[in-house]
């Protein structure tokens, strides 16, 4: 162990190239993961924040929040189904918001809700809204009055919420009547009557199995499609395809990164064959050399991860607002573990060579 660390310290320059290459791969992996997470989180916040585990769509809407319609009659029928504790209506209108003092129109999602949303207080009075923190970048602040839609309906921001966006548009949480006004002015062809929402979120009574309840609701009410919150999130347009694309890319990148890491560690070992030969000649066992290798792999990877992580964090901080990049702890951990495994595998490949080194040949004079 000590030998390993001493070599790292005294012969730092020999390990710099490998560490650098590793750090770069870490940056690549963190960025990829960060972009995927960012795209995903900023598109699905509104639905992920719902506390009720089930959501009812009208079945012709094919799980689209925008197209679905839940009338008061349907709602009454749902609430009559045994196992339903309570329901909360939700609707979203994607409109432009004029922010005083700003030239560009902000992309907003006006969300009409009744309650049971994680991190969002009870609905504010008409004309008031809770704004998602991401709208800060658009110039919105507490007390700002954002004017939304073609008729510039005023919404005064009275509080912040976070991670509640829909399709990357900044969420403005309002009481249902305000939302219906916005919807009607922006999309006259999609106007809804009083009491109608787009989706209905359902909380089951304690002890009720949600899957069974979903099926029961659809059977009893007819013309509805009830699914879980997670499925609703996946049904948001573009999400499945984005995830699939990025996941494939991340998978291939990890694989390639692992091979590149292995290559570098193999080369590093090759470079030190003579050194290992001498060590063996003076009595070091293969096992001790293996420990050296593993220790060094871990230390180099840790340093590379540190450097790569710092660069990654810096990138996230300087990224402009339109770049949806978020570094989540689970992603950071995932990359750390992945890279460590790759480094150990690479070191393992070189292990065979080390075991085969003949100390007598190693201390002979060079060619």
């Amino acid at each position: 162990m000590r030998l390993a660390l001493r070599e790292l310290r005294r012969r730092r320059r020999a390990f710099v190239p490998t560490t650098l290459a590793l750090a770069l791969l870490v940056v690549l992996l963190l960025s990829l993961g960060g972009l995927l997470d960012g795209l995903y989180l900023s598109s699905t916040g509104t639905l992920r924040a719902q506390q009720d585990p089930l959501v009812v769509f009208s079945d012709s809407a094919r799980d689209s929040v925008i197209r679905s319609r839940i009338t008061p009659e349907i709602r009454a029928a749902v609430e009559a189904v045994p196992g339903v504790a309570r329901t909360d209506g939700l609707g979203v209108a994607l409109v432009g918001g004029h922010v005083p003092g700003q030239a560009d129109i902000a992309d907003t999602a006006v969300v009409g809700y009744e309650g049971a949303v994680e991190g969002v207080p009870a609905p504010p009075p008409p004309g008031r809204a809770y704004a998602d923190r991401s709208l800060r970048a658009a110039g919105v602040d507490l007390g700002t009055t954002v004017r939304v839609g073609p008729e510039h309906i005023p919404l005064k921001v009275i509080g912040w919420v976070r991670d509640t966006n829909f399709l990357q548009q900044g969420a403005l949480w309002v009481e249902p009547g305000t939302w219906r006004d916005v919807l009607r002015t922006a999309f006259p062809g999609a106007a809804v009557g009083d009491g109608t929402f787009q989706t209905l979120w359902v909380a089951p009574t304690p002890g009720t199995d949600p899957t069974g309840l979903a099926a029961r609701i659809d059977r009893a009410v007819g013309g509805t499609h009830t699914i879980s919150r997670d499925d609703a999130v996946l049904a948001i347009p573009g999400i499945k395809e984005q995830r699939s694309t990025f996941t494939q890319i991340i998978g291939v990148t990890f694989f390639v990164a692992a091979l590149v890491v292995a290559l570098f560690f193999a080369l590093l070992t090759l470079e030190r064959t003579a050194l290992f030969g001498v060590l063996k000649a003076i009595g070091a066992s293969s096992h001790q050399l293996a420990t050296t290798l593993v220790t060094q792999a871990v230390v180099i990877t840790a340093v590379a991860y540190g450097i790569g992580g710092l660069i990654g964090v810096a990138l996230v901080m300087v990224a402009p607002a339109q770049v949806p990049i978020t570094l989540t702890p689970s992603r950071a951990l995932f990359v750390a573990v992945g890279i460590l495994v790759a480094a150990l595998l690479g070191g393992a490949v070189s292990l065979r060579r080390i075991i085969r080194i003949d100390p007598a040949a190693a201390i002979g004079t060079g060619t």
Binding site: G364, T365, G366, T367
Partner: protein
């Protein structure tokens, strides 16, 4: 025309505040087909002298001539060319390019001079391999050759471009007496056959009788 002429050559290095004198007022002449043995303990400056003669180092003061080339003020490029064509150097350890076969190692100097593709080059290389007793080993890589065989390939490489001066640094230090004798006989035989001059650096006094003349060097100074 002497093969090598050093006049009052001095080589110094600065280390920190002090000045190290590697070679001090060295004057030496080697005839055009003379074999000179340069004898001294390690650290005596013999490798430095050899390096200056071989165009690997420039003297701090004094003049160096090899044949009719005064190389004292040569630029890096000129020295490179000089080393390629006017001198054959057999180093103490690293002598062969590990990824070239014995034959290719011998031919590499000729290739660098642009004569690599000529059939005569290859024929010469094979002839040298034969003279050196390596006729069957031409396609082997250095890793597949014994220490003595590698030494002989290095000698072949030094002789390939038919330079007027051969410089050999400690040819027998890694070999036992029998092999050492073989190598010395080979070097002397080849050099004499070509009427070339040679400077052989050694600290092994058993080998000095192969040379025409022996000069001693101690602490950077040649004995009178």
């Amino acid at each position: 025309m002497p093969a090598l002429q050093l006049r009052d050559v001095r080589k110094t290095y600065t280390s920190g505040d002090s000045e190290i004198v590697a070679l001090d007022h060295a004057t030496l002449t080697v005839g055009s087909d003379e074999i000179l043995a340069l004898v001294g303990p390690s650290g005596s400056g013999k490798t430095t002298l050899l390096s200056i003669a071989g165009g690997l180092l420039s003297p701090t003061s004094g003049t160096v001539s090899v044949g009719d080339h005064d190389i004292t003020g040569y630029s890096g490029k000129e020295l490179t060319r000089f080393r390629r064509e006017q001198v054959g150097f057999v180093f103490q350890t690293v002598n062969l390019v590990p990824f070239l076969t014995a034959r290719e190692n011998i031919m590499v100097a000729a290739e660098l001079s642009g004569r690599g593709t000529a059939r005569s080059t290859r024929e010469r290389a094979d002839q040298l391999l034969g003279e050196l007793g390596l006729g069957q080993r031409g396609d082997n890589l250095p890793a597949q050759l014994s220490g003595g065989e590698r030494q002989r390939v290095a000698i072949g490489r030094a002789l390939m471009n038919e330079p007027p001066l051969i410089l050999v640094d400690e040819p027998t230090s890694a070999l036992d007496t029998r092999l050492g004798t073989q190598v010395m006989e080979l070097i002397v035989g080849e050099v004499k056959r070509r009427h070339t001059a040679a400077v052989i650096v050694t600290h092994d006094t058993r080998m000095t009788h192969y040379a025409d003349r022996t000069v001693e060097i101690l602490d950077g100074t040649l004995a009178a």
